[in-house]
Symmetry: C2
């Protein structure tokens, strides 16, 4: 039976990527497995360099003063690294959900944090607008897509201070002027690859402004100087991310996948809005094109609905444990067809009820 995997991450990846990764485990270089060779060998150094180049190319940031790194530790490690490397006295943070809140918590260990706005007052169901970013801050930090609550920033503020963005759950999903950001980071396990590596794209001119001593492994300068191989990199995760970026580039790049992502989002949100059995969680104007969060209006239909989902091979639709309800995560590799199957089940439930 065909599977429709709506998991919020780790999540569906392109079939051909998984096939190639599986083959590379058996024979990558002259009979040796991808995971048995030295990371300093030419075949793997080539992989790392290609991954770094592809990331910059897809974001249209090549030759613009940026470096791409594939690190370990997830976005949660970036919450710390961003502050360690950039926060000298004060920083501005926009609070749009759990991950923003966590980023703020870690930054407070290193300096003063201005929370410029927060949507905590309405369970993070919307994105605050019309806030002011203090000009004396070292940087402004925001989270472009809020996986848990299903909101997404459609515009970004204009500011003269460096803008740092956690794009873990919508990187490579839509066209943006990425040069408005001084630093972008993203855990791989949504649109980029398997769990285990984190992309950091940083404009070099923002570094070297803090006076503290930074541990080597957490120092962007050290990682850049070592070409993203200060220590043994997470070989498999970097290789599989490279394959996924290659797949996206061969499709035609971000603009092509964005058109597909728009269709998927339109399809599911139309159903949520038209079907009286469902209600969306996020404010309409702030709805995420990656994660559609919704609830059943009649809880007695829960079991029926979930049995129908299972029968159609739909998995990963449960909302985050902190929110409940449902969440349809529609990352790049999820097909429009899969969203169609889900929408059919939702319509079928209405006919049955």
């Amino acid at each position: 039976m065909k599977k429709h995997n709506f998991s919020a991450g780790p999540c569906v990846l392109p079939k051909e990527v998984i096939q190639k990764a599986s083959e590379a485990l058996l024979d990558f270089d002259n009979g040796l497995s991808l995971i048995e060779i030295s990371h300093r060998s030419k075949p793997f150094v080539d992989v790392m360099e290609k991954a770094r180049r592809l990331a910059l190319q897809l974001l249209d940031l090549e030759g613009k003063g940026y470096q791409a790194l594939f690190l370990q530790g997830g976005a949660s490690t970036q919450f710390v690294m961003v502050a360690l490397n950039l926060l000298e006295t004060e920083a501005a943070y926009l609070n749009t959900g759990t991950w923003s809140s966590n980023a703020i918590k870690e930054a407070k260990l290193y300096g003063k944090v201005h929370e410029v706005a927060s949507s905590a007052d309405k369970s993070f169901s919307y994105v605050p607008k019309n806030y002011t970013i203090p000009a004396n801050c070292d940087y402004f930090h925001c989270t472009s897509n809020n996986t848990i609550f299903g909101t997404q920033l459609t515009t970004f503020p204009k500011t003269d201070i460096p803008m740092v963005c956690d794009m873990s759950s919508d990187i490579f999903s839509r066209t943006l002027d990425f040069s408005q950001f001084a630093l972008i980071y993203a855990g791989a396990q949504k649109n980029m690859g398997p769990a285990g590596t984190t992309l950091v794209v940083v404009r070099e001119d923002i570094l070297n402004k803090v006076t503290r001593s930074i541990p080597s492994i957490l120092n962007y300068n050290v990682q850049i100087a070592k070409n993203s191989m200060f220590n043994t990199p997470p070989v498999f995760a970097v290789y599989t991310s490279m394959l996924t970026m290659e797949w996206l580039q061969n499709l035609g790049g971000i603009s092509v996948i964005e058109a597909e992502n728009n269709k998927k989002a339109q399809l599911i949100y139309s159903e949520i809005d038209l079907n009286p059995l469902f209600t969306g969680f996020a404010a309409k104007e702030d709805r995420s094109k990656m994660n559609a969060t919704f609830n059943l209006t009649e809880t007695k239909l829960k079991e029926t609905f979930e049995t129908m989902l299972q029968k159609e091979g739909i998995s990963g639709l449960n909302g985050h444990r902190s929110v409940g309800g449902y969440r349809a995560s529609m990352y790049n590799a999820l097909t429009l067809d899969s969203v169609g199957v889900l929408v059919d089940v939702m319509s079928e439930l209405e006919r049955k009820a």
Copy 2:
């Protein structure tokens, strides 16, 4: 042609582990790939729990107050975490090579470091003995095996302060009373699995003694409280490490592989000592059973030797870029047969020369 992979890490892994990992990428849970499912799903939570249990079982530390964690960031991140979590005022470090030196460098960011002894005076070709560990230190840190220089600690000092050991390159390779250590850490990419995860085994009673604020992701307590899933773990690396530990347990555990490792070491070192064309780098009494470092006595034979190696399918024999010469890394999954092939080439070179 059969391959003989002497790579220092990432390195050879058991064939059946690689086979199973490759299959799990195609279908791990009900048609879904290992890297496409939620890390919070039961199938993966079971993997993490089994990996944590196996690590404690293999080290005979189950039920003795220890916790096993599978983190990200390599031993280089542990250099920082150990100091952040344990170093309140002073710590004692034994310097036996590059990795010890790096651990010392990072610890100095957090307190006073006593270098109790160092073998830097002789290019780290031996292990210092008869040093004193100050009793007022928060902990004593050592590196059990020095991959680059090919030395290994055969005994560990008696001390009343917690002993911390970087076992990245010899974990699970020999029996020891592991309860003499309060904290053991090891990057996976030698005896345990692919690059991308780091095992930390920590006795809980040594935690909560420092007064500083520790970033969540770098806090052992936080990681323990979250069952090694504070954030998305490196799914593939943890799964493949679990398979490798399972393979070792099925073989009969560490004592069985230790006997095999002893045979491999004896074979190569006998050849190095008997063959006038080769000379060992490390002091005889401190030789590593994992990494045999040696040089050609007649450099004009270099090309001939390396051509012969290649012809026999031997790879990964180059010494570390900072040392040169040769290094035969003989981790758990390297067979005695492979060492035999290498030794045959060394003998053949002698006959030819």
